[in-house]
Chain length 373, copies 2
């Protein structure tokens, strides 16, 4: 459970899937009703509570109402996130029996325990926090996430939570968080599927900040969210490295994003990287099907420090050396030195964007072929 | 080389990728110029001749001009298709030296040799022909294809050719072939990438048929094209079975298609099938992200003869029995008894569609991780 201070404002972004879980409906409706005045989030891991019919909604309503009455807040101020197997309902009496214990153990030092409790197939906890001095005060932003791939309709997927001790007006906070998500959680892919339960909830509570510092605050929110998003991509099922795709020189950001995300999501790019193959043909072919116009002669391409294409023409780099660089990244440490950078310049426009993904390995197949609901 | 009779009409459909090979540009331009009056197709396997700059176009022009002069036809009547590694030009002098031999060996019985010569990573030849009695005469349709996955930007991908000994006016033929392709080659996926060289050329030549038989002719064209398309999906890299996804009851065909193709392309559905896991959660989750509205309570789902969902509710089928059925399909014979059928009813509308794909195995990863340009 997360508990936010009285007066908190919460902005949420959710899965685009039509088949979203009842708890997602509940979050969306309550945030609309209360204009973002949320106080608590109840989270369960193991059962997605998606495709469970009316029972899904009944259980979510009941659990949040119970928690609200024990916390002495309004039911509309309690949100719920579930993650786990689709089609499986929450063992509701077990959940209700645990609420008192949950409230008793509530603690400002409980972040790590919570970050651990929300995991499913994840191999590592995902937490990040930063402090910044803005407008003469210390500003703190913290976050945690779970997800071992952008999408796992089974161990249904990505949840992330952020807190910020600056009070930001509701509408402005919504707009900031939307931009932050576009540059973080919406820029990662593991296998292209979307889950039924994806949710990101960002809380703002505290003294307001002078308007001139809001841009810097947004940079901080973006940094925390990008760290968590990258941690999810890096922990993608079967992954050995994080892939960062930077596209520059497009007509605008939206076109740059489409190219970057298409490259990061290409199975053939992901397997080439897994095989330590500096295969520029697959990278440009993926860019070519992104639905964005650019000229072949304008493409320059780098893999890490090595240039593969200069204005459409292959460079005479030593394949062996580049392959060794890739091997080193693939055997690197989690989020320390395991990043493979693909940088593509597609023209001289102002549009830049980044996307993140991971390599595609035999282990991904085994995890997903052997995993049984 | 394919040679069509004088007076032939050719309709072509090509890759939607921005980065298409020079030979694709050449085909598109010549078919437009001549209103489909093509006579010959020169095909090379091994070099995609894509991303090869001006040289790519110069080589394609030179090869087709040489062939035209030796066949004593117009250069505009000669088309060219290349398949192979991106970024590698055709060894043009070797190709030109072989033209006389190619013309000498031209034969009506040469179909099999041609179907074999166009292969790259394919494991099997893909040919199909049928005869039908229409309007008091025998009508013949034949086809061949190569492709081991919808997409292989490296061994760049799908080529298919069809001949029909019925003369059909150019514009009508174009429209028929477009509909045929929508129900065949556009309904298959192996890994979601698009190649630089995808081409389908369909020739019509001979006595015309009374208008009342044209619908039946189109059924024949569709059957031949669907056989070839399914053969490509089944021969997808690392595949052990063909997956057929039938979606029924959508608002229209276009919505049914989006759902069917999204399911067929889902990595999580493909790995579940590879693992013989009747995992309905992944199938409905894929449908949910297809961008098409339907009600959860309207979904019924079958895997082969077994029903998994009835109007949104799970059926109490024996998982072991369904898993054994899947195992049998995965070890079945190529295009004989290796089909896994997924059928989903999403409502009571008139929109039905089919898509084809294949399972995703560790072998796909090894083929694409180890394969080096």
């Amino acid at each position: 459970m997360l508990l936010a201070p009285a007066g908190s404002i919460c902005a949420g972004t959710f899965t685009q899937s039509l088949l979203r879980a009842a708890c997602v409906d509940l979050c969306v409706n309550r945030l609309q009703e209360t204009l973002g005045k949320a106080r608590a989030v109840l989270i369960n891991s193991g059962q997605a509570n998606a495709c469970t019919g009316d029972l899904g909604l009944i259980d979510s309503l009941r659990a949040t109402q119970e928690l609200a009455s024990r916390l002495e807040i309004l039911p509309e101020e309690v949100l719920m996130c579930s993650t786990g197997v689709i089609g499986v309902p929450i063992p509701i009496s077990h959940l209700l029996d645990s609420l008192n214990e949950l409230i008793d153990e509530l603690s400002e030092a409980g972040g790590s325990a919570a970050a651990n409790a929300i995991l499913t197939t994840d191999l590592v906890e995902k937490q990040f926090a930063l402090e910044a001095h803005l407008g003469g005060r210390c500003v703190r932003i913290g976050g945690m996430a779970k997800g071992s791939g952008m999408i796992h309709p089974n161990m249904a997927t990505m949840l992330a939570f952020l807190s910020c001790d600056v009070g930001v007006p509701s509408q402005l906070w919504q707009q900031m968080i939307k931009r932050v998500v576009d540059r973080s959680f919406n820029a990662i892919t593991v296998d292209g599927d979307t889950s039924t339960n994806d949710s990101f909830l960002a809380f703002s509570a505290g003294a307001p900040l002078a308007e001139e510092y809001l841009d810097e605050l947004e940079i901080g929110l973006t940094l925390v969210s990008q760290y968590l998003a990258k941690a999810i991509a890096r922990d993608g099922e079967g992954a050995n490295c994080l892939i960062e795709v930077v596209v520059q020189g497009a007509v605008d950001v939206s076109e740059a994003r489409r190219i970057a995300r298409t490259i990061a999501g290409s199975s053939l790019v992901k397997t080439a990287i897994h095989g330590c193959d500096p295969n520029w043909g697959r990278i440009v072919a993926a860019a070519g099907r992104a639905g964005v116009f650019f000229k072949n002669d304008d493409i320059s391409l780098w893999l890490g420090p090595y240039q593969l294409l200069r204005e459409g023409k292959p460079c005479k780099e030593d394949r062996e050396i580049i392959s060794r660089y890739m091997q080193k990244c693939l055997s690197g440490n989690y989020l320390v030195d395991d990043l493979i950078l693909i940088r593509m310049v597609v023209g001289s426009g102002p549009g830049d964007a980044i996307a993140w993904g991971c390599d595609l390995s035999e282990k991904y197949i085994r995890i997903n072929a052997d995993y049984t609901t």
